[in-house]
Symmetry: C2
Subunit: 464 residues, 2 copies
């Protein structure tokens, strides 16, 4: 259909302006901020940003945008890493951060109902005095729960508590036709029809705009113990993780940090960790259960060349440890001041973890690439943070080739092109290799639920 | 399109006969057996039954049936409870029970790859000597894993280990267009695109025919302890379960059996359980962890009016206990010899469990209905097994009205019309009430993936 004055992006923006006034922002700084991306994907700002305050704001926007074929890009906190919030075809970025009310805490059912813009930090501060916590922790503490659901986020505690896939019990979403869907009842279990919750979790806003979430929460464990365990070799650290998983030890966190990244921590945070491949650990449970876990874990670690095991029981010591871990991205920068960097991730079956990491290490050495490694290795998931100069085309090409080999290596080992960062724009090129005919099924679903391609176009599904 | 000799069910059957010879059965006994249903849904036999041996048999059948508009009904072991294997529009039942090879046990990754017709009993016998087990246990030990995935089965251990939703890591399926889709890689975690695994789990064969599954398995715990805990009141038993869940005790099994069903066990199996509302329990873990769990559990139970706590540690004692539980359906019959019966289930948020069960009990008493109760109450999920005379129209009407009230009660409490039996034909009437606009989304997905309505028509989605 040809665009006409009455059916054009500009007409949609005019209508949105009439309806929302100053809550519609078209200034370049705000638009640029909403295309900000911690990746080398080029920022592509939207035409406008709407600060939504209610679900009705969203249904109204969808109505207007659909009538005028203006794309919609849902925006949480902009912490996604693969260009998920970019606007390659222009459009309206709907900023959901003001929809930040905690609607219910059902203590008896261990669930909460929140608006999409609530951050995990905000939720956990609210829950702490109730003796509860929400475990999914992708690092960015201001990430919104809606954004985390949309990218199927996971992070440090997924090895014990699962990812957003397991912890979103139900959600509400505005669909491309403007209808509002609640994907499931609040009961824990159901076998009533297709699993729409899991379909929208990880869909990166391409199938619907999440407005509300029912999330599983947990009682704060009686004992929480953190520990730092440096190893002689990267291989020994990997093997310790593999054996702990195979024994079903149930650690709450099991993070691998290579010697390079440890050096970054020390430079950035003034810590004095031994500059060795290291596991950061956390044990949750009763005093007796955690003591048992630690005994078994230490026996494995010692047989794999652990150089020590330092416990941190006081909350402030634990927090220092996990703050260092969460600052990995920024402390990597300390290794080459002024460098550009980005985080990439893959995941493999745990039995191939050591193979994949060691082959990648050899590749790095052969190609002269500096890329510290951190990883949620209990899930077979690890990140590399290559340091390079974005203005140096040769370096950029070298890094691109390296990350391409990393993905191919993971796929060849039965792994995935992305364990937790999502596809966005950055990994679209691997969808066919990863999913084969499954990609056709995904396209058919997208076509059925969003025939005009209104919702976050140019993400997840590569051009046919 | 009008049917013609070259495009008709009979032409399809002729082609199937040519292709498969004696593996295509059209005799009434086999056809009737494939429409067998442990429910009051009227059996509706298919036109023919194909005993598939390979995935290629299935793609060939889909090709032939699609060309001639002959419906396809996937069949595992026929243990589903809501008419899932019926053929309301005739068609070809594809019996998958001969596709029963265990293809791989990846001990290091704690996963297995199996053909769709492998039964859970067969898998667990295979795994036992490897120190592994597969926990999803819907009771019917000859249920096939493909059927269990299709109905999103759960059962006694879901409270600790999750349902088929959590334990199917990936699957292969033949889609309505004849293509073969693998839904995910073997890595535990991925954020690469739409979650096709969870879409097909619970789809009851209406979106694709599952041919192969990658399943999560677990190490057999060091200690497995079962126990029987009778209570003064049904309310006390419910409250004990609720508090155990809220404390995150992590029991592996927590089954409520009411005094009527206990009486059935005693009549059927010659056991001598106290005829009281009773919890059957199982504790998994290390010796120290299970001992801790038991101390905490008993303290809760005693404060809620427990009358005893009898442990069964020897495998033979444990097996006797769980055999009694699994025979619930048959032992219910002992309460009224000659009676007809069927099992129905709902699930509610755990905080509403006692309310829902006690209101239902009052309803039973007021309407003079005999219906023993068993339940996976840790999930808020319980079953009733009404006893009645199928030839007595008044009794049938009374039972129908009672089960209708049960579903409405569960829905009003934030629950679901079915916790684990699925929708099939029996619960289709509640899809609109349960899902609202979500039902439209499900219809759109079905239309996109199976536009001709070839796969298991007349199930899950009620007529528009």
């Amino acid at each position: 259909m040809p665009s006409s004055p009455s059916r054009s992006p500009q007409a949609a923006l005019d209508l949105l302006r009439q309806r929302f006034g100053d809550r519609l922002e078209t200034g370049l700084p705000i638009r640029t901020q909403h295309a900000h991306s911690l990746t080398w994907v080029t920022p592509e700002p939207p035409d406008a940003v709407l600060f939504a305050e209610t679900e009705a704001d969203i249904t109204t926007s969808v109505e207007i945008c659909r009538g005028h074929r203006l794309p919609i890009i849902p925006f949480g906190a902009g912490t996604s890493l693969e260009g998920q919030v970019n606007a390659p075809r222009g459009g309206l970025s709907i900023d959901l951060s003001r929809m930040n009310r905690i609607l219910a805490v059902n203590h008896g059912d261990l669930d909460v109902v929140v608006e999409t813009g609530v951050t995990r930090k905000q939720l956990n501060e609210h829950l702490r005095d109730l003796g509860l916590f929400f475990p999914v922790d992708p690092g960015a503490e201001h990430a919104t729960l809606g954004g985390m659901a949309s990218t199927r986020a996971s992070g440090t505690m997924a090895v014990r508590y699962g990812t957003m896939r397991e912890n979103v019990l139900s959600l509400r979403a505005v669909m491309a036709d403007g209808s509002i869907v609640t994907t499931s009842r609040r009961s824990r279990k159901s076998s009533a029809g297709y699993d729409l919750t899991r379909l929208l979790v990880g869909a990166e806003g391409t199938l619907g705009i999440i407005t509300e979430l029912t999330l599983r929460v947990y009682g704060i464990p009686e004992t929480v113990l953190a520990a730092v365990c440096p190893f002689k070799t990267l291989e020994g650290a990997c093997n310790t993780v593999i054996q702990s998983i195979q024994l079903g030890l149930g650690l709450a966190r099991m993070e691998l940090i290579d010697e390079l990244q440890i050096k970054g921590f020390n430079l950035h945070s003034g810590t004095s960790f031994a500059e060795q491949p290291t596991l950061f650990l956390e044990f949750h449970g009763t005093p007796a259960a955690t003591a048992e876990q630690i005994v078994t874990f230490r026996a494995i670690a010692e047989s794999e060349g652990a150089l020590g095991f330092e416990q941190a029981e006081r909350p402030e010591d634990r927090n220092r440890l996990w703050k260092a871990r969460h600052d990995a991205y920024w402390s990597a920068k300390a290794l080459r001041p002024g460098a550009d960097l980005f985080a990439t991730d893959v995941s493999v079956p745990i039995s191939r973890l050591a193979d994949c990491i060691l082959e990648t290490r050899r590749d790095q050495e052969a190609s002269g690439i500096v890329a510290p490694l951190v990883g949620h290795v209990g899930d077979g998931n690890f990140h590399l943070v290559p340091l390079f100069d974005l203005k140096d085309a040769t370096e950029v090409a070298k890094i691109k080739a390296f990350t391409h080999r990393l993905v191919e290596r993971a796929l060849a080992m039965g792994g995935t092109s992305t364990g937790e960062h999502g596809i966005g724009q950055g990994k679209m090129g691997y969808m066919a290799a990863e999913h084969g005919t499954g990609l056709r099924v995904m396209r058919a679903i997208k076509q059925a639920l969003d025939p005009e391609g209104l919702l976050n176009p140019g993400k997840i599904l590569p051009p046919a």
